[in-house]
């Protein structure tokens, strides 16, 4: 579905952020990209939708090569890729509904979008998505009135209304509390499964990555150093990605918390 081939990115400052990253993601797979700050996680996903221009390499979305696209073709290609941001990146002074509908900008002409005359289908879909994330009663609120978790759910709606094939998710939980983080990650993963979407999720919380992703890729200084299932993330592997540290606690904690969570969920279901 998405194929990244020997991606290299050198910034104008001379820093080489990516040193030949190759990845292949099949349809419907949720992949967590972990790694220390500055490893190039953000650069990878920004190269895919070309918010950052790659220096070298090729990227295929289905049969479409993205790196060589002209700007008009790139706009059409971007419609197939939804993006979710760390600080939500909602337009703060627009209403929730306007923010969700802005996901359709690639499909709607300028004047229609300027006068907010969106097709009825788009409005129906927006309400469906808002209902799905349980925020339909907030449609007419302004985005800056919402809490962090609510804003991120609006961000998810904006990405999904594009009707994408691929989700690019940049640190979705970095500004959220632990409980909301889990809810948001669960929501993203559930939605990916419902719609058979592939997703790349940048995340620095190893724990959350292990809980929710089927596949984990470790990035260190612009190179992939681990690619495999979450349960073979051993202390050795984590040391390789992040450097020397006592990792036993992190890994054990995950197992414990998962048990507690399962216990709580069953308790919740029975009550």
């Amino acid at each position: 579905m998405l194929r990244i081939d020997k991606l290299v990115k050198q910034y104008k400052t001379g820093d080489i952020a990516l040193k030949g990253v190759s990845l292949e993601i099949p349809k419907g797979q949720v992949l967590a990209l972990i790694g220390p700050s500055g490893a190039g996680k953000s650069t990878v996903i920004r190269c895919v939708n070309r918010l950052v221009e790659p220096t070298e390499g090729k990227i295929w979305l289905n049969d479409l090569e993205l790196v060589s696209l002209s700007s008009a073709a790139l706009r059409r290609a971007r419609r197939r890729m939804g993006m979710i941001f760390q600080e939500y990146a909602l337009v703060e002074r627009l209403s929730v509904m306007e923010n969700v509908l802005s996901g359709r900008l690639g499909y709607v002409g300028f004047w229609r979008s300027f006068f907010r005359k969106y097709p009825q289908n788009d409005i129906n879909e927006a309400y469906r998505l808002l209902e799905r994330v349980e925020l339909d009663h907030m449609a007419d609120k302004r985005a800056d009135e919402l809490s962090g978790g609510q804003r991120q759910r609006i961000g998810i709606c904006r990405a999904l209304i594009q009707n994408p094939d691929l989700l690019l998710v940049d640190e979705p939980t970095a500004s959220l509390d632990p409980k909301t983080s889990r809810q948001i990650m669960r929501l993203i993963c559930d939605l990916c499964q419902e719609r058979q979407l592939a997703a790349i999720i940048n995340i620095h919380d190893v724990h959350l990555a292990q809980m929710f992703a089927k596949r984990i890729v470790g990035l260190q200084e612009g190179k992939i150093v681990y690619d495999g299932p979450p349960d073979s993330l051993t202390p050795d592997v984590l040391t390789q990605i992040y450097g020397e540290e006592d990792w036993e606690a992190t890994i054990e904690e995950v197992e414990d918390e998962e048990e507690i969570e399962i216990a709580m969920e069953t308790a919740g279901a029975s009550s």
Binding site: L51, V91, E92, L105, F110, R158
Partner: protein, 271 residues
């Protein structure tokens, strides 16, 4: 270095001794220049007149009261003209200032090396010439009257509005713009969804603030024949009709107070 070590005691000062001495030296020069200028001005002043001035002021004040209230009938139309000059001039300025601001802002300018310097030059030249001087020139160009006043106020305000607006554009949150870009939005849509909502409060504030300033500036434009209440002020002073002058000053004060109240209300409602 502010931190230094002597006899094992670490001391800290804001500035090193040479820096401190240099500062005292500059203060000394400043005071010397001030005293020198004081003496120059003092030599060129006829102190006999200055000593007489309190008596003159009391005399003028006596001749100003009571204000000639029946003259008010002739002032309604000039006041209306003054408000119109300010309002139309501000609207004209804003209309021209918007494109200039977008050309001058680093993050939206079409070309940093070519277009931006031109825009900045327009801003500086508009700001450097007082509206009274603009009016003086325009009265000779297009003849006396309200129209010259409107253009003078407009030309003077372009720089002010464009400067504040381009600073607001440069301070927007780039993440929100990036998020809109990632949906596949066109350039015009990026502007109307990503940038315009963010600068709306600044834009409204700047417009109302400038209108408020222009009300005050347009009261004097009549002195050079560019319409408004200044025309009456000029003729009253030259005919030594001090009771009329006092009434005009009261009317100007009232207009300015009302305009400040209106602009405060509007700004409060928008921001």
């Amino acid at each position: 270095m502010p931190s230094s070590e002597q006899n094992g005691i670490k001391s800290w000062q804001l500035r090193t001794r040479p820096e401190q001495l240099l500062r005292w030296f500059f203060w000394l020069i400043g005071i010397a220049i001030f005293l020198f200028c004081w003496r120059l001005i003092s030599e060129k002043t006829i102190w006999m007149f200055v000593e007489d001035s309190p008596r003159q002021a009391i005399d003028m004040a006596e001749r100003m009261v009571p204000p000639k209230w029946e003259y008010m009938g002739k002032l309604w139309i000039p006041v209306w003209d003054t408000i119109n000059i300010a309002t139309l001039g501000t609207m004209l300025a804003i209309l021209i200032a918007i494109p200039i601001a977008f050309c001058a802002a680093r993050n939206t300018s079409p070309s940093l090396t070519f277009v931006r310097p031109i825009a900045l030059f327009i801003i500086v030249s508009s700001r450097s010439i007082n509206s009274l001087i603009w009016a003086l020139m325009l009265v000779t160009l297009i003849g006396p009257g309200v129209f010259a006043g409107v253009i003078a106020i407009g030309l003077r305000s372009i720089g002010f509005c464009a400067k504040l607006l381009y600073e607001a554009i440069e301070e927007i949150d780039p993440n929100q713009v990036e998020a809109i870009e990632a949906t596949g939005a066109s350039k015009a849509q990026k502007l109307s969804y990503g940038i315009v909502p963010q600068i709306m409060p600044a834009f409204a504030g700047i417009s109302v603030f400038r209108w408020d300033i222009n009300i005050r500036e347009s009261t004097v434009l009549g002195l050079v024949g560019a319409g408004g209440i200044g025309l009456q002020l000029d003729s009253s002073i030259s005919t030594l009709a001090w009771t009329q002058v006092s009434l005009i000053l009261i009317v100007i004060l009232g207009t300015v107070v009302v305009s400040e109240w209106v602009s405060a209300k509007i700004r409060h409602a928008i921001i």
